[in-house]
């Protein structure tokens, strides 16, 4: 399990190593065709800042080779904002006095139908808060079943589950799981996640092993930028990615580094801020470090960043996302989990990508590939 690995990596030492990387370290990393985590640290270090243009060119080259002139499109759907956790930065915080919604079956279907009106979305990400009693595995299974007539590729972003629960959801057509570690800083993790199941660092960080062991095809990882030193946090994610790729080589991986905005939730202010240049640097570094990992930018990022980065390293994007349950059709005014910064229509995102010579790919999976699991379910 990854908890055994990460506990041997000292946070402060890692930070120090990143900050003491030199020009020569950066040049060495950029000259390699296969980089290790040390090289990754060099590429995200301040010493690499003058090499942003060269990194962009390398990142573009590797992205083109592996993904071509395409961007994979997905859309999230929040089916509940009920949550027993109290993550200090999150709009769904248990003590927030907001209307809690758990979409009913007919509402979920109406949302799916509304999404299909926005564009030819085929890759659906089902998102929930953490409420296992009211919106647990059976509820998710139902949401997946209801989604099958509308979408070929079904992914979930929910609380970490047991391995057998992931296996159970695979039988309902689930192809991928996204789970953000938020931060790999174990000592401070509990500060941000003081209560509920989410407060247990080890349960969350080992969730990825459990997904892979259950045979989940695609696993999405993420660090929430704004909690701890982002360089160290993303380096830990790089270690994690390499660990997973080595141990679970049949699984495909994606990475996210969503940036928290100062205004979110009114109360919590991010501890660290990542500039646009730094976001670009870390994106390029990730691509040079791992030519094959899927790099995803959500609508949290503003239009000009998404447009420009699409050609340089990013491979997956959402569009026209609503981050509130029922936001597409049923309850257009309920509370968002976070504020989005790119509120363009799907057609406008598509047009912008096309203008940059990129084909937005909506369908890149076929539900028939999940037949084995479906057969088992019968």
């Amino acid at each position: 399990m990854f908890s055994d690995v990460i506990r041997k990596i000292d946070w402060e030492e890692t930070t120090e190593r990143i900050m003491s990387m030199t020009d020569a370290d950066v040049r060495r990393a950029l000259g390699k065709s296969r980089c290790d985590v040390d090289d990754f640290m060099a590429m995200i270090s301040p010493a690499a800042a003058p090499y942003l243009e060269q990194m962009a060119a390398l990142s573009q080259k590797y992205t083109r080779e592996r993904f071509g002139k395409t961007i994979n499109m997905f859309i999230p759907i929040y089916i509940t904002n009920s949550c027993s956790n109290s993550c200090v930065y999150c709009g769904f915080h248990v003590e927030n006095k907001i209307k809690r919604i758990i979409l009913k079956e007919d509402e979920i279907v109406r949302e799916y139908q509304a999404i299909k009106q926005l564009g030819p979305f085929d890759n659906l990400l089902i998102v929930t808060g953490e409420n296992p009693a009211m919106a647990g595995v059976p509820y998710l299974a139902k949401a997946l079943d209801l989604a099958k007539p509308y979408f070929n590729n079904l992914q979930i972003e929910v609380m970490p589950l047991k391995s057998e629960e992931y296996a159970e959801l695979r039988k309902h057509g689930m192809n991928g799981v996204i789970c953000f570690q938020e931060t790999y800083h174990e000592a401070n993790y509990k500060k941000y996640h003081p209560r509920g199941q989410k407060s247990i660092f080890e349960w969350r960080v080992n969730g990825f092993d459990r997904m892979a062991q259950a045979g989940v095809h695609k696993i999405g990882m993420g660090v929430l930028i704004g909690l701890e030193d982002w360089r160290t946090d993303i380096t830990m994610m790089a270690y994690h990615l390499r660990y997973l790729e080595k141990n679970y080589w049949r699984t495909q991986y994606s990475v996210n580094f969503p940036r928290m905005r100062p205004s979110e939730n009114g109360g919590f202010q991010p501890n660290v801020v990542m500039s646009d240049k730094e976001l670009a640097q870390v994106t390029f570094a990730m691509r040079i470090f791992d030519h094959d990992v899927d790099i995803s930018y959500s609508t949290r990022e503003p239009e000009f960043i998404r447009n420009n980065m699409a050609a340089l390293g990013v491979t997956t994007m959402s569009a026209e996302s609503k981050t509130d349950p029922g936001g597409y059709a049923c309850y257009p005014q309920s509370l968002e989990q976070f504020h989005i910064n790119d509120d363009r229509k799907t057609a406008d995102v598509v047009a912008a990508l096309r203008a940059r010579g990129l084909e937005p790919v909506f369908k890149n999976w076929d539900s028939s590939f999940d037949h084995e699991e479906m057969l088992l379910a019968k």
Partner: protein
């Protein structure tokens, strides 16, 4: 010159096969297909809405002179491949299949064990199977014995544009082949394609080198011409490559024979 390629009884005038991933638009892809003169085009079933015959990508590929070659990219074992193949046969109305089983999503390298297993089953089920495989001469023999219509050994990992990295093995495969050998994956430049034909390949499959080129349509033409040139050179019989025979003034190894 009558030099038709025959696969499963069907004749092809062009020996250049095209892949359809990674293009900047379906329009560019369609133009590249046309410019290349290809008659065999592979398409990933995962990209196509199988229940929708008006699917835009499919519309841009399916033409009367084109043999559709659906591929199973995305499946991870023989069982999934066989199931997907049946879906593809129904959706595309063809029993031709490019069998791709690459459980490793990083390098997309084919699983030899599952590929052989699936080939055996699919041949029994009436498919014309063109399996993507490692440049492994023994595996290629086994696939041909199992009834594969061709073998499609890789030149280099998919998308790398690294050229004929597996050259020595490709030569061994071609030398022993009883079915057409289609060199697939990794061909990065028209010169690579020409070289593959010069060593006796029956056909080549190109995708990334065309789709990510600055001008994909022009690059498709370049590959078409290189394929014709390479094939012609092969049929014409390349002159032996001369080792450096001339410069040897004395004969240090054999001078004793002159004594």
């Amino acid at each position: 010159m009558d030099d038709k390629l025959v696969i499963a009884g069907k004749e092809f005038s062009s020996r250049l096969f095209l892949g359809t991933g990674k293009f900047s638009s379906n329009e560019v892809m369609a133009k590249a297909i046309e410019a290349s003169g290809t008659e065999m085009v592979t398409l990933a079933m995962k990209r196509i809405k199988l229940s929708d015959s008006s699917d835009d990508m499919l519309q841009h590929i399916a033409k009367p002179n084109i043999q559709l070659l659906p591929n199973t990219s995305g499946v991870r074992n023989a069982e999934e491949a066989v199931f997907a193949a049946k879906m593809a046969r129904e959706a595309f109305g063809t029993n031709w299949l490019k069998l791709e089983i690459h459980p490793d999503p990083r390098y997309l390298l084919p699983d030899p064990v599952e590929t052989l297993k699936a080939t055996e089953q699919l041949v029994k089920d009436g498919f014309v199977v063109l399996p993507y495989c490692q440049a492994d001469p023994v595996l290629c023999k086994r696939l041909a014995e199992a009834g594969a219509a061709t073998v499609m050994p890789l030149a280099a990992p998919i998308g790398t544009n690294r050229g004929l990295v597996t050259l020595d093995f490709l030569q061994a495969i071609i030398e022993e082949a009883t079915v057409p050998v289609v060199v697939d994956a990794g061909i990065g430049a028209p010169s690579d394609a020409a070289k593959a034909f010069e060593i006796g390949a029956s056909a080549v499959l190109v995708n990334t080198a065309i789709s990510v080129a600055a001008n994909p349509v022009e690059m498709a033409v370049a590959f078409k011409e290189a394929s014709v040139a390479g094939r012609r050179a092969y049929l014409a019989g390349l002159g032996a490559q001369s080792a450096d025979f001339s410069a040897q003034a004395s004969s240090p190894l054999t001078s004793f024979l002159n004594d």
